[in-house]
Symmetry: C2
Subunit: 256 residues, 2 copies
């Protein structure tokens, strides 16, 4: 049973891509073979790992979803050993409309990733900030889901809508899908709202919230401009240490 993990939240800018790249790199550093699937037309996970968007214009997830290529054709390596990427591209913007009449359109990604035979221990899927076609495809393809939650008011507001969508998907499209956990991100100790949001989330969701909290740490926002994950950029930073702790938590409790 392969572990396929989606990183999803329709609220924008909550740390989905940063979490996807950091978990993927941390697991790769723990002797696991990892594939990171970039399911966001913005392609931030692709460039955040040093792959130029212009190098993959004819060979990326879009071509796999429309059936012009198989996953194996488009997967590329990264500067991180044991970490591969299925890159994305802005062509993905149009898939929701392109596929509207196609039967079982929500299973396109599931069929694509389930046939990959390269011995990956984990497949991590970075989702766009929406509850549309691409995110639904990712959740249908996944065994579990991590919800990054920025410690801010607007982010907390959207959590209910996301959990409703997850329940619908579990009921109709993917009964296997479980919630690996809610991850508190960009926590700022100096900021009252961070504490209030964290308290409220732990009150409602208890053990479904990861013990690891990701602090706001400027090094996390610097590393993508160098095309490398936090561990290569500044392994001793609070950002790197917290994501390494999270990877251990994921590996140890076998939640996903």
């Amino acid at each position: 049973m392969r572990n396929i993990l989606s990183i999803a939240n329709q609220k924008g800018g909550v740390g989905k891509t940063t979490t996807a790249i950091s978990i993927a790199a941390a697991l790769a550093a723990s002797n696991k073979k990892i594939l990171l699937v970039d399911a966001d037309p913005q392609a931030n996970a692709t460039t955040g790992l040093g792959i130029a968007k212009n190098d993959v214009t004819t060979s990326n997830l879009y071509h796999v979803l429309i059936g012009k290529a198989v996953a194996d054709d488009v997967i590329v390596g990264t500067s991180v050993p044991s970490l591969d990427v299925m890159p994305s591209n802005q062509d993905l913007v149009g898939v929701e409309v392109e596929f509207v009449t196609m039967a079982k359109r929500e299973e396109r990604l599931k069929n694509a990733v389930r046939n990959i035979d390269r011995g990956y221990d984990y497949i991590i899927i970075d989702c766009p900030p929406s509850l549309g076609f691409l995110t639904v495809n990712a959740l249908v393809a996944s065994d579990a889901l991590i919800i990054p939650l920025q410690c801010e008011y607007f982010a907390l507001e959207g959590l209910g809508q996301l959990l409703n969508t997850v329940k619908l998907i579990q009921a109709r499209l993917n009964p296997q899908l479980s919630l690996a956990g809610i991850l508190l991100t960009m926590f700022d100790v100096r900021n009252g709202i961070s504490h209030r949001v964290a308290e409220e989330v732990r009150k409602y969701f208890g053990s479904r919230v990861f013990a690891t909290v990701i602090p706001r740490n400027v090094r996390l926002s610097e590393c993508p401009s160098y095309g490398m994950p936090i561990f290569q950029y500044d392994g001793a930073s609070r950002g790197a240490l917290s994501y390494m702790e999270l990877a251990r938590e994921i590996l140890n409790d076998g939640r996903s």
Copy 2:
């Protein structure tokens, strides 16, 4: 000619909603009559102005777009004098697929707002973090566009894609659409990346970047939990002062 302004950027969490609410409230405080249209299914602009999502489940932008209601029916007042809202709701999530076979589907919002006869000086449209149906509808309905740009690497990366989409819309759907300006948001003086991004944006876009820069200011992230814009919550904060300065810049140079 009425001023219809979209606040758009497909990158998530860059300050679109905060900018839409703050500009709308600042213009309302400058004796202008303002309508804020919430075109995001997350409905953050709706709740950020104190309107409960559950109060508008049967009467919001969704019903206007599907033709079940006219704009006048769904517009509600706020605690801010001269500021009304056309609220949103999560039903909007499905419109992209629902409308796929409808002719001129990209003009639904334009037709809805152009017929409102309540003497608004400005109509401000808050967009979701995507380049899909709702954002295209907003840009087709608009006279001008403001692009909030968070001073971070991933946000800078997406700017090219957004400007390409704007050019396509100008060429095919709305030749009137102009760029009111790029607004630097969440600028943190202590953070090297903020300075680097700001320098790069001014180098490429020169006078198309607003002189006003919005600093990172915790008061801006606190006010939505009280359902009020920054001016009512903390009018002396750096966040409030910078958005008041921006409103003056918009009014003075008649860009939009």
